[in-house]
Symmetry: C2
Subunit: 196 residues, 2 copies
């Protein structure tokens, strides 16, 4: 009996790990630095986890392991709900409902205690109230900002976005967590628009 | 002066984070579960980190944060040295030298203390002597094994690999870290070959 329970537990975990392979097929707006194609949400999540591993030392209060766990799972709901571009328009309430339904279905594949833990991480990221979640959100803005400055403006150029709009859409989330990161990011944005 | 040092520190970190974007363009042999294309090493690294987040509870001695850090960085050397397929033949000594040179160049973009820490994580993974590194290596075998069983044999079919060869190439690394994981993986391998 204990053996069968353990086997069922592991089978549920492997089913979840197979299901989330689909995140590799969710395409975002940002282009790779080499401009060969647009980025997908799985490799974006890896890149963000690397941002956390490298940049979290900027604030000793940050628990990097929690930030990385949030970043690894934060986009998994896009498997069902899709990616909502920052420069696009969408029905925020409908999107929030679709993402909640997706979280319950996909994390619900896991054994109960893990499902609860992953749902809790995802909700914490989404709410952006804790220091760890705010830092994770800041990195989720900083990474596409950096990619855009390295690809001739990327989604900013494609969407005809001004320097002021960039600052309004990326700035508050980054600055609220780390004024030092925003100071550097703000300079990169200014350099990009000044050189156009 | 302190301000310029901090700015240089952050600039080195952002340079590193831009450089490793290239891992998204290193293509591996494994196919995605939906068979649309082969997997790249960045999304593979994300998937492995998720394997660690979900499966590490199998052994309370494992430090999941250290395992995830190793898995996030373990393939970065492939940006310079390429991916060496498990079913291929290659000059092991030449590859080891190329990967060491790559690690020193790429992690060398970081500020000194982080460069040393990342090199140390990479070496620990490579040596596979600690419990954390052995578990990370086991996941790096388990993930492509799972993808192959979900894609009609994947690289096994492409390379005409037998069930005995699969067990010899994937088994020891997984079993050494976790007999329970290998027991389940072994059953999946057997199911695949029995159904052909």
């Amino acid at each position: 009996m204990a053996h069968h329970m353990a086997e069922d537990h592991l089978n549920r975990q492997l089913t979840f790990l197979a299901e989330i392979d689909a995140l590799k097929s969710v395409v975002r707006q940002s282009r790779l630095v080499n401009r060969s194609r647009r980025e997908n949400s799985a490799e974006h999540s890896w890149h963000l986890a690397m941002f956390a591993l490298v940049l979290s030392e900027i604030d000793p209060a940050i628990d990097v392991a929690r930030v990385i766990a949030m970043l690894l799972i934060h986009d998994i709901v896009e498997i069902d709900a899709g990616d909502a571009p920052i420069h696009g328009t969408h029905d925020a309430a409908a999107l929030a409902q679709a993402e909640r339904t997706a979280a319950e279905r996909i994390f619900g594949l896991l054994p109960g205690p893990q499902r609860d833990r992953f749902l809790s991480f995802w909700s914490e990221f989404d709410a952006a109230e804790t220091a760890d979640a705010r830092f994770a959100k800041a990195l989720d803005r900083l990474q596409p900002l950096l990619l855009n400055t390295l690809t001739g403006g990327g989604t900013w150029t494609e969407n005809g976005v001004t320097e002021e709009q960039v600052c309004a859409r990326y700035g508050p989330t980054i600055e609220r967590s780390s004024p030092a990161l925003w100071s550097r990011a703000r300079a990169l944005v200014h350099q990009h628009f000044a050189a156009r």
